[in-house]
């Protein structure tokens, strides 16, 4: 892959990958850091990379690896530069959904309820949260998630199932009460 191919990849998948970073870190500044680091890390492996179908998965797997390495450093940064939760200040751009069912439901889900869902996802432990983000935000399949995380497909299914149960319990209380 050339630098030009990398730039095209950023153009094509930048929004997807940046969204993953925001959901993963829950922090705008750290998401920006992680987003840059993913592509800078990729630069070191350009010769081995192919601009093909699995490239988005490849970048997401770099993101997961980098994030796991960063977590300990963040423990220090938190002490001195507190986290900014992403839901507070961000300008969101709404995007039309292709899925008609989702589009109809979307009209009935208020921004506040979406917020509840996002907050609930953010509260999940990381081993459950990452498969949920990859599955729902980035629309990765179970086999793709398994490859990204380096775990068996059965484990991905089980984590998604556990996450859904926990989210269901959390959301039944918070959304339906409103």
């Amino acid at each position: 892959m050339s630098i030009q191919d990398l730039e095209k990849t950023i153009e094509k998948y930048g929004r997807d990958i940046f969204s993953f970073c925001v959901y993963l870190t829950g922090d705008w500044i750290m998401a920006e850091e992680l987003y840059q680091d993913i592509f800078v890390t990729a630069l070191e492996h350009l010769e081995d990379m192919r601009a093909e179908e699995g490239i988005k998965s490849y970048f997401l797997s770099i993101a997961v690896r980098l994030w796991q390495n960063k977590r300990r450093k963040i423990a220090w940064r938190r002490r001195i530069a507190p986290m900014q939760f992403y839901d507070e200040d961000f300008d969101r751009e709404s995007e039309s959904e292709n899925n008609i069912e989702a589009d109809i439901l979307d009209r009935y889900i208020s921004g506040e309820e979406q917020e509840c869902v996002r907050q609930a996802v953010h509260k999940l432990k990381e081993n459950l949260r990452i498969p949920v983000i990859l599955y729902y935000v980035n629309e990765m399949t179970v086999p793709q998630i398994a490859r990204i995380l380096g775990i068996p497909e059965g484990t991905v299914k089980s984590r998604l199932s556990t996450a859904r149960k926990r989210l269901k319990k959390e959301l039944e209380d918070s959304i339906h009460d409103k």
Binding site: L6, I10, G14, R15, D16, F18, S19, V22, Y23, G26, D27, I29, E32, E33, Y35, Q36, D37, F39, V40, L43, R72, K73, A75, W76, R77, R78, R79, I80, A81, P82, M83, Q84, F85, D89, F90, R92, E93, S94, E95, E97, N99, A102, L105, D106, I109, E113, Q114, V117, R118, V121, H122, K125, E126, V132, Y136, V137, R164, K168, L171, H176
Partner: protein
């Protein structure tokens, strides 16, 4: 709510709707076209957003410095300074970050004090990253004092041990305040006598070692009565706000010394390193600094 409902709700609510800003894309382009130069200059949306939740998360750091200094602050009171009473040391911005060791000269120029940063702390710990962070003291009215830049350097372990953070401040943080509230004197004394705080003299410098327990919690966490009581009464226990996960405990080891008015503070979390090993590392650091002067 059925399983299908929750699945649909997640599909609808979780969208990739965060777009990298033009500024971020510009910075990324610069990094890509500058080869191995991995320095990051932070461009914040404005200092106000950084100040929103600063207070509690910064608490731990200040409390520890207070204890080291035999001066200051907290749990039971605060120190009077011109204009108010200092309550927190807060982080305002990350100004710079680089994984290139050659950036150190630039960092030292930027902060304006003569810091000496080795490329390793021992055979196992090697340079990983250097940052500049802007910090300040905040009084009980929310006013900020003494904005200053500190250097933070991370060293990673070749053998997989947790990273070490080395923070360098251009001030002698331990002599910052000239008022010593009685309550803090007493707390500091308790801490010193707790068995988890020791000091040794190395090359004529007093080097202090702290072994502390941290409970990392989210910003909205309500501590239990027991935790609150521990935070107030146990000089080696800290509740640290700002986490994004369930509460978890961490064991922190800290070494602090002041050399030529510059405060050096090394810290590691959840390491198997012994107190003696940590002291040996600080001795190597002191030897390095002396040789560079």
């Amino acid at each position: 709510m059925t399983n299908k409902d929750i699945d649909t709700l997640l599909h609808v609510s979780l969208k990739p709707d965060y777009t990298p800003s033009d500024d971020l894309n510009q910075r990324l382009q610069e990094r890509i076209h500058n080869g191995n130069d991995t320095a990051v200059l932070y461009h914040f949306h404005g200092s106000q957003r950084d100040k929103k939740k600063k207070s509690k998360a910064a608490f731990v750091r200040f409390k520890r410095v207070a204890a080291i200094a035999c001066v200051l602050i907290f749990a039971f009171g605060s120190v009077g300074v011109a204009g108010g009473k200092i309550k927190y040391m807060v982080g305002l911005k990350n100004l710079f970050r680089s994984s290139n060791y050659n950036e150190i000269e630039r960092v030292v120029d930027q902060v304006g004090f003569e810091a000496h940063v080795p490329d390793c702390l021992s055979e196992d710990y090697v340079f990983d990253e250097i940052c500049i962070e802007e910090v300040a003291d905040e009084d009980d009215n929310g006013r900020l004092y003494d904005n200053r830049d500190v250097i933070r350097v991370f060293y990673k372990s070749k053998s997989g041990e947790p990273s070490i953070s080395l923070e360098i401040s251009g001030e002698d943080e331990t002599l910052k305040y000239d008022t010593i509230p009685k309550e803090m004197k007493e707390e500091n004394e308790r801490r010193r006598n707790s068995g988890y705080t020791h000091s040794r003299e190395i090359d004529g410098l007093e080097v202090e070692y702290f072994s502390d327990t941290f409970l990392f919690v989210p910003n909205d966490y309500e501590p239990t009565e027991e935790e609150e009581s521990l935070d107030e009464t146990d000089p080696n226990f800290y509740i640290s706000y700002g986490g994004d996960q369930d509460p978890y405990y961490s064991h922190g080891q800290t070494i602090v010394f002041v050399l030529d008015g510059i405060t050096y503070e090394m810290q590691v979390f959840d390491s198997w390193m012994s107190e003696d090993e940590f002291y040996e590392m600080s001795e190597q650091l002191i030897t390095y600094i002396m040789s560079e002067k």
